[in-house]
Symmetry: C2
Subunit: 160 residues, 2 copies
């Protein structure tokens, strides 16, 4: 146990990367996302949660009970993966999954009381991580970044 110190410069290859790579937007995007994703997951893991848990809980909190397909489209989680996420959430008692009497193909997923408490906690936790990840930027820069990324993701999210 000594062979582990020379890995590719932990999460920030500030070192001598080729000029062509150093400022390549797609690469920077990738690196930034990896780091950010990792920090988010690490922090959520401390309260036995994952990224998708937050997404589902938030969707339920904001828009009320929904079918799995609806949750899928709201959160961007594939409906095949949604199954496992909901299993985990029900195991933790954060949501309730019951067949929809009105349409027996569907399940109705509902936020429980402890689910509501959990998402408050996650809100705070996540805010801290955001803050840490964006630490190198000033507040206006953070806003700017968010705006630019939104434009990228939503294609034409113009507003001014």
């Amino acid at each position: 146990m000594s062979d582990s110190g020379s890995e590719p410069t932990r999460a920030a290859d500030r070192s001598a990367a080729p000029a062509r790579l150093r400022n390549l937007p797609t690469r920077l995007l990738s690196l930034a996302a990896i780091h950010s994703d990792r920090r988010v997951n690490e922090e959520l893991a401390r309260v036995d949660a994952r990224k998708w848990h937050y997404a589902v809980l938030a969707a339920l909190d904001e828009a009320g009970p929904a079918s799995q397909a609806e949750l899928s489209s709201r959160t961007g989680i594939y409906r095949s993966d949604m199954v496992a996420v909901l299993n985990e959430l029900t195991d933790r008692g954060l949501v309730d999954r019951a067949p929809d009497p009105a349409d027996r193909r569907r399940n109705v997923v509902t936020l429980t009381g402890s689910g509501r408490r959990q998402i408050r906690k996650l809100d705070g936790l996540l805010a801290d991580v955001e803050d840490e990840v964006l630490a190198p930027l000033t507040p206006p820069e953070r806003e700017q970044l968010t705006r630019l990324l939104a434009a990228l993701v939503y294609g034409r999210g113009r507003n001014g």
Copy 2:
């Protein structure tokens, strides 16, 4: 064959995502990176290349022959994964891998002639993809984004 139209809104969930998710920087980063990565890989695949191929070829082109460990630190590719990448590159005749007579632990990796041609091609190809991915942004916005991402990735890459 008909059950495939309702997946989570292809690569741009412009739909009704919860407000808490819609402008969450870490999430936007993730979504943007996924899309950008996919486009890059798709386009590179058309010439039988991958993202890491470009990184290694660029490193060699700019800094000359190097050991695998050095390439690893220059590109951010883990040295365990570097093996496969170099296998692919040598298979395609783009690089040459030979034991270093000066230090028999190392290999010396060298760019071949056709490797030099390949990276010119990839340069052009990649520029096109960058352009497509960043299409929603104006040129100054693209610069701004690059600057912000670099600050994020390199921690304190201030310059003015």
